[in-house]
């Protein structure tokens, strides 16, 4: 796959992640609406039982490999905020991977903390790309955080992809908690 296919693939994965996140949140809310909603939630979330941490690990791994592809293969140099997001994303691969192997659901609290921090930075980064003046008045000639390397579908940029990944991980952790409480 060339760069154009790869970035479209990543953008589509981000949209799929959004769909998954929204689906999980909607079903989570439905679970509070009454017996039938509760049954739906049990049925759907139940299907994830045992997979939650593995899926979270997979999302973090794909995001990590994607970011390494963009920086090491396509040579897009990460800006400062990109690095902060990497600092939150990369450890998730390790801690969710080990927790999935050990079925250690206490990982949720650590993974949630990292994912919330990462999501917050990614969200701010995406906002800065839209409203560059809130961050700085100039694009540095080296690696400005305000300028997107590329934008697909008019809104999917690299930090948007990162944000999508963090939110899906949070959603999966929520499913994990819901299944543990059940």
């Amino acid at each position: 796959m060339d760069f154009h296919s790869m970035r479209l693939f990543f953008a589509l994965l981000a949209l799929a992640a959004n769909a998954g996140t929204i689906g999980i949140v909607v079903i989570g809310f439905a679970g509070r609406t009454g017996p039938s909603g509760h049954a739906l939630r049990e049925r759907v979330f139940g299907a994830f039982r045992g997979l939650e941490l593995w899926l979270g690990f997979s999302v973090a791994a794909v995001a990590t490999l994607g970011s390494l592809y963009l920086s090491e293969i396509v040579h897009l140099i990460p800006c400062t905020y990109c690095w902060y997001q990497r600092i939150a994303m990369y450890p998730l691969v390790v801690i969710l991977g080990i927790a999935a192997l050990r079925r250690d659901h206490t990982v949720r609290i650590y993974a949630t903390a990292l994912a919330v921090i990462g999501a917050a930075i990614a969200f701010y980064h995406r906002i800065v790309q839209v409203f560059p003046e809130i961050n700085s008045s100039a694009c540095s000639s080296s690696v400005p955080c305000t300028a997107a390397y590329f934008t697909l579908f008019g809104f999917v940029t690299i930090p948007y992809m990162a944000l999508s990944g963090f939110l899906l991980i949070l959603a999966l952790l929520y499913v994990d908690r819901s299944n543990s409480d059940a």
Partner: protein
Amino acid sequence: MTGTTKNQPQSSGRSRSIPIVGIVFAVVAVLAVVAVVFAGNTEVGSEYGEPQVSGQLTPAPPNTIADTEATGETAPTAIGQDFDGGEVRIENDGKAKAIVFLAHWCPHCQNEVPAVQEWLDSGGGVDGVDMYSVATAMNPTGDNFPSSEWLDREGWTVPVIVDDADDSVYRAYGSGGFPFWVFVNSDGTVAVRTQGSTPIADLQQIMQALQ
């Protein structure tokens, strides 16, 4: 966690009706195919110029809105072409100049260009000060590429020199943050340089102060 074990066999029995892993793999595979089929090669190709540059200013200090590091130095000469192949010369012709370096991917430049154009369209500009622009730092895979289409779309009337792949003109003028303005007195010496969005009022004031 321990409290869940009682319910688990029952729930996982039902869960087989939704094969999550299969769905995930299927979705990813479909998206990969879609990406390959529909990516197309939107590469527009580069549009670098071949400007001839002589002279070198002191590099602009980073993160500095206005710098006087190069004040008094002789502005480099740049002879190049615009996107239509017309010759554009930035040289010591006895006139004061305002030169703006623009990067198509920079959102501040994307905001500055229409603001300046609107000013010029409404009778703006300063008598005796010629305006030039340099399309530089071009990146064929970057946002808002190519520069030629962007500046066309904005109705940009300021003469443009198209920079080369090494950003030679931009580097000769000191590589400031975008949009990067260099103001030159009529004797060919640099008055001041500004980095980043420069409001029209400031622009006008600086241009009026040029000697």
